[in-house]
């Protein structure tokens, strides 16, 4: 499964969610499918996308929050998984694209390449719904179930270590940040 195909499969459902992504390939590929004002790309602070999603989910329980994380990113913040599990926000869907690699910095193998099981780690941390999927169809089903489950979910999607040709996009970091905050805090925006 390619990560971009997985995101493309669930893209229509993202229109009414708050979406937070990690840096690199995930951010560039989601922007190539189509940027929306309710998407925020954390282009650095590696590991903190899930924490940022938790901050939004706890602050705004009426909104559905989707985090697109990565294996090497969540490996930097495994403690954060225990914090997610501790507060179990019902409005958070945590997707980890696991390509077993630090792709954007040269493709070095991550610890999932030698058997570390992120869904198992999430489950053991106390995340109530966890699964690992390896096909687009299985991802689509798991994502839609999680979106409607009303329970914190971590979905580990096994994807190929293949990304876009370049990671810098035309969307500046600050433009994204101000647009995103305005969308979240502007009552007239279309929300869930």
């Amino acid at each position: 499964m390619l990560r971009i195909d997985a995101m493309r499969a669930v893209y229509p459902q993202l229109e009414r969610c708050v979406v937070v992504t990690i840096m690199g390939a995930v951010a560039a590929e989601l922007q190539s499918i189509g940027h929306r004002p309710n998407f925020f790309y954390l282009q650095h602070a590696m590991g903190l996308a899930s924490s940022l999603g938790l901050g939004i989910a706890l602050s705004r329980p009426e909104l559905k929050v989707v985090v697109f994380d990565g294996d090497a990113s969540i490996l930097m913040n495994l403690g954060g998984l225990t914090t997610l599990a501790r507060y179990k926000p019902k409005n958070l869907v945590h997707v980890v694209f696991d390509n077993e690699s630090l792709l954007s910095v040269g493709g070095f193998p991550s610890a999932t390449s030698t058997g570390s099981d992120l869904a198992g780690i999430a489950a053991a941390a106390g995340v109530p719904r966890t699964t690992t999927v390896g096909t687009i169809d299985a991802f689509d089903v798991a994502f839609n179930e999680a979106l409607h489950a009303d329970e914190l979910s971590t979905i580990v999607a096994k994807v190929k270590a293949q990304g876009p040709a370049k990671f810098v996009t035309d969307l500046s970091l600050l433009e994204n940040r101000f647009q995103f905050k305005r969308w979240l805090c502007d009552d007239t925006s279309a929300k869930v």
């Binding site: 954390l42 899930s50 938790l54 901050g55 939004i56 403690g79 914090t83």
Partner: protein
């Protein structure tokens, strides 16, 4: 444990008066009462962290979502959060109110706190983080309010250092 309940209450009340509604925290001796107050107050959310850097992400999310927050941490926790502060809050121009207990200053008896005490202000200055020391109970409300005002007008992290004279009664 001679941590000042009265001054912890002054700090908590001042933060609430600034509309802070979400706290992230890791326990540390000087912060025990503040953390308990944040947990007991029905109007505030307390997020107990595994490591302080998570708190930067949580505060960024809360800010984007329109909720004011504060981080409660020791100076060593601040050191542990540095990458998140630089490549998260500073990179994205997010106001971040950091309440940092300044362990390792004059009067410190715990040998393990002493290196951190020496480095805290130098690290804050190297990062360009405006800071103030809270050492006088009477000045707590307006110093906290002014720190929050600058964080929001500058769209940058700011730090308030909790001192031994304020927090420790013996």
């Amino acid at each position: 444990m001679p941590v000042s309940v009265a001054n912890s209450q002054l700090i908590f009340d001042a933060l609430k008066a600034c509309d802070v509604r979400l706290f992230s925290a890791l326990p540390e001796t000087w912060l025990v009462h503040l953390v308990r107050m944040a947990e007991d107050d029905p109007e505030t959310i307390l997020v107990r962290l595994a490591k302080e850097e998570e708190g930067v992400g949580i505060s960024m999310g809360a800010y984007f979502a329109g909720v004011k927050s504060a981080m409660l941490m020791q100076n060593h926790g601040f050191f542990a959060a540095i990458n998140g502060i630089i490549s998260g809050a500073q990179l994205y121009r997010v106001p971040l109110l950091m309440i940092i207990s300044h362990r390792g200053e004059f009067g410190e008896r715990d040998p393990w706190q002493t290196e951190g005490g020496i480095s805290t202000i130098r690290v804050l200055e190297a990062m360009g983080i405006p800071y103030d020391r809270l050492d006088d109970p009477a000045s707590i409300p307006h110093r906290i309010a002014k720190a929050q005002t600058l964080a929001e007008s500058a769209l940058r992290p700011v730090a308030l250092l909790l001192t031994r004279d304020l927090m420790w009664e013996e």
